[in-house]
């Protein structure tokens, strides 16, 4: 039982990370119809920035906030400078740009900070945080931080005029212009927010997977899976999808271990986590192509 709860807790912690990256993907997808393949590498780069700030003497949380702000500016900058000239470019050109961005982030991080794996600290106090035997201090901290960030985003998009303008610009850019929304800036802001949320995910996961330029590769795959399960155009769905994938992969491994313990036959274990997660994605998409929460838009003609 205790092992089950442990697996569940670590699933939730991983899920929180996937949820953040998935949300970053969806935020850009809903406003541009493109999946940013470089999202993970951008988050990795942000994590290195926070590491550098700590190496220069900042405390963890100061480095965290500065890195998130810098990432926001980087996101805005990338949209304005690199993607703006490509507004009318064909999809393939943009895909190539995303892949280029991925390679650039990856090799720049390697060039600046080397490819050697670095340890990354956890800001959460060891002793009196978490529930002994069930959820460790870092896991609980990750869940709390991501939930706070996700709630802030929800409030921003749901209740502020700027959030409303961003939603309107994503839904129908031309009509948004007709009510005076500066759509180009909304896109840039969306990129900034996506980069910032990605940075939160990167900084939170670095203590678990260690800091290296390839740390986000697997996580981006999980995030794609989460976004697809939740419905690629649905931010709330992406978040729930993230938690589902996180818990599911651990449960699969846990069940596999249990079966092995009881029967002595090895069927699945930790090594097959990703495979099983992706099989489930295919299964969900076959039955519900729009994803679990993909809304069929109500439309009267």
């Amino acid at each position: 039982m205790e092992q089950f709860l442990q697996q569940l807790a670590s699933g939730l912690a991983n899920g929180a990370i996937y949820a953040c990256v998935a949300l970053a993907l969806v935020m850009i997808y809903v406003s541009t119809d493109h999946l940013n393949f470089a999202q993970g590498e951008m988050a990795m780069f942000s994590t290195y920035i926070s590491w550098q700030l700590m190496a220069w003497g900042c405390s963890f949380w100061v480095a965290f906030i500065l890195a998130v702000l810098i990432s926001f500016c980087m996101g805005v900058f990338i949209e304005r400078v690199i993607l703006r000239p490509l507004h009318h470019a064909p999809v393939l050109s943009i895909v190539v740009v995303f892949i280029g961005l991925l390679a650039i982030c990856n090799s720049m991080a390697g060039a600046i900070w080397s490819y050697l794996i670095k340890e990354y600290p956890s800001p959460f106090p060891k002793a009196d945080f978490g529930i002994a035997g069930v959820i460790g201090p870092h896991q609980l901290g990750v869940v709390i931080v991501t939930l706070v960030v996700l709630s802030l985003l929800f409030v921003f998009f749901r209740y502020t005029p700027l959030g409303l303008a961003m939603r309107a610009a994503a839904q129908n850019p031309q009509m948004a212009r007709l009510v005076g929304v500066r759509v180009d800036w909304m896109l840039a802001l969306g990129w900034g927010l996506a980069a910032a949320v990605g940075a939160v995910a990167g900084i939170m996961v670095a203590h678990i997977v260690y800091l290296d330029p390839n740390m986000m590769g697997g996580i981006l795959l999980y995030a794609f899976a989460s976004a697809l399960i939740g419905g690629i155009g649905n931010p709330g769905g992406a978040v729930v999808g993230g938690f589902i994938v996180g818990v599911l992969e651990n449960m699969v491994a846990y069940t596999g271990n249990m079966i092995e313990k009881i029967t002595g036959i090895y069927i699945i274990g930790n090594g097959e986590k990703l495979t099983v997660a992706l099989i489930i994605v295919i299964f969900v998409l076959t039955l519900k192509p729009a994803g679990l929460f993909g809304r069929v838009v109500v439309k009267r003609v």
């Binding site: 129908n172 212009r177 929304v181 109500v298 009267r300």
Partner: protein, 237 residues
């Protein structure tokens, strides 16, 4: 009195295709002007060209200021409200959000709320549906919402593209009655594009007739209405 909107030598292009050739007209402050013409004459394109939504050439002056090269959103912020053709609403946003989006640059929330209440005065039906998703409204209600949203911009000039399109005759009459009230009570000048020439000529004080991207006739609505060619081509009697 100088015109509120002056359009001179307006040309518009979709890619290589030219849709407008030398369109020119003046819209007086406070009046209702209508733009008539058959399908493909360039009525919608003219409205889109005013808001710089297509590639244009020529000059558009609004309140004396040249707005030809301004971005669409900047033109709108100078208080030209464009109600596009078809159901011009954000279908996945609620009625309330559709109205608030038009006021998002204004900081004073109490003022925006008051504004919204005033707009509901014209469209009481929308108030009943305030939290409903715009996509679930009837066609007439969506058209009303589009006009209400345009009003939230506090426009000096409202561009209306076929507000009667696809609506039941009774609803059309209701909408046109509201448009007249808006013109009189809010002092909003209106440029109306309509297929339904009889209705448009009743509402408007001045009319321009477009044919294949050119103005072929203009004058007071009463005069245009009695012109024999217009009667035969557009009014059908």
């Amino acid at each position: 009195m100088p015109a509120l909107l002056e359009v001179k030598g307006l040309k518009a292009f979709y890619g290589q295709t030219q849709a407008l050739y030398d369109v020119g007209f003046d819209i007086p402050e406070g009046g209702i002007t209508t733009l008539l013409g058959a399908n493909g004459a360039g009525k919608t394109t003219t409205l889109r060209a005013i808001c710089n939504m297509v590639r244009t050439d020529g000059t558009v002056r609004f309140g004396g200021e040249d707005i030809t090269r301004q971005a669409t959103e900047e033109i709108v912020r100078r208080r030209i409200a464009h109600v596009p053709e078809g159901r011009g609403t954000f279908t996945s946003l609620t009625v309330d959000e559709n109205l608030r989006i038009a006021a998002y640059t204004r900081k004073n929330k109490a003022e925006v709320d008051a504004e919204r209440e005033r707009v509901f005065g014209y469209f009481p039906r929308l108030k009943e549906r305030i939290q409903q998703q715009a996509g679930t409204l009837s066609g007439g209600e969506q058209q009303m919402l589009a006009i209400a949203r345009a009003l939230m911009l506090k426009p000096r000039l409202m561009l209306l593209d076929e507000p009667s399109f696809g609506l039941a005759p009774l609803i059309v009459v209701e909408i046109f009655r509201i448009l007249r009230r808006i013109n009189e009570e809010e002092k909003v000048s209106i440029l109306l594009v309509e297929q339904n020439a009889a209705l448009a000529l009743d509402l408007a004080s001045h009319a321009y007739v477009l044919e294949t991207g050119k103005v072929v006739m203009h004058g007071p609505a009463a005069v245009v209405k009695n012109d024999e060619n217009i009667r035969k081509s557009y009014l059908g009697y």
